[in-house]
């Protein structure tokens, strides 16, 4: 059962990721990116990280994909769709990426990381939240600070001097 789920999630993730990069229309690309994020969230569920999976769905699909769609609409879906004309670069990139994948596959040892038992109470939300607030409270505050800075930065960027 878990194997089937894993295969389904992995296939959906990889297929949607390829579609997101290669789709002609940016709107379809953004939708495919959302599906790829959903597949990664499913893999998180399989890895007993349910809270992270829900967080991924909420933040990536709820915020990032919607933001990207908004930007595509605002910038214009037709923009930047000119055919690339860089076949040599594409070929080089494909060769390099295949080399990366092949090298990783050759170095990988399929039995080095055996399947783990279900981690039971070790992976529950209680452990995660205590660790987040007790051990990493300062870092959490810093992330909030960076988030505020990012929001202010985005606002400052989008405010052009329209009066002149």
């Amino acid at each position: 059962m878990t194997d089937l789920l894993f295969l389904a999630f992995a296939a959906v993730t990889i297929g949607a990721a390829i579609l997101a990069i290669e789709a002609r229309d940016l709107v379809y690309g953004a939708a495919a990116l959302g599906i790829a994020f959903l597949g990664v969230a499913g893999l998180f569920f399989l890895l007993d990280a349910a809270y992270v999976g829900w967080f991924q769905i909420a933040v990536y699909i709820g915020a990032v994909v919607v933001l990207i769609l908004f930007t595509v609409m605002l910038v214009g879906p037709r923009m930047g769709e000119a055919p690339l004309g860089l076949k040599r670069v594409s070929l080089l990139a494909a060769i390099l990426v295949s080399l990366l994948l092949g090298m990783t596959g050759a170095l990988a040892n399929a039995t080095a990381f055996p399947g783990q038992d279900s981690c039971g109470s070790g992976c529950d939300l209680y452990l995660l939240s205590t660790s987040l607030l007790k051990n990493y409270g300062v870092q959490l505050e810093f992330v909030s600070l960076v988030m505020a800075a990012a929001v202010i930065g985005a606002l400052a960027l989008s405010k052009t001097d329209r009066g002149q």
């Binding site: 990664v40 890895l47 594409s90 994948l101 399947g115 981690c119 990493y136």
Partner: protein, 102 residues
């Protein structure tokens, strides 16, 4: 449960797709897609390695929560830069933007 190696394989393939997109695409939004895919590959890797430890600790999941938050901020700032560039240049093809060229 699946061996963790298969999760690492998915992560590496996602990384490869992201690098391919970064190298071949010239559209700024498409490049942002690639960066997000690479973020997801890294997150998947961290979660899988965090799962490896016995007894489990929550550090890996906490790290991924921070990463997701930072990636969302990066997307917000990047998209606002893209909107600004498209307003100033009527173009988001990165090979044609040369305003900052020395």
């Amino acid at each position: 449960m699946e061996p963790l190696s298969s999760f690492f394989a998915v992560s590496v393939i996602l990384l490869g797709i992201g690098i391919y997109g970064l190298m071949t695409k010239r559209n700024a939004i498409r490049i942002l897609f690639s960066v997000e895919l690479i973020y997801n590959a890294a997150n998947l890797n961290i979660i899988a390695f965090a799962r490896l430890r016995n007894p489990p600790i929550a550090t890996g999941q906490v790290l991924v929560l921070f990463t997701i938050a930072l990636a969302a901020m990066e997307a917000a700032v990047g998209l606002s830069i893209i909107i600004l560039v498209s307003r100033l240049n009527a173009e988001i093809d990165l090979s044609k933007l040369s305003k900052l060229k020395g």
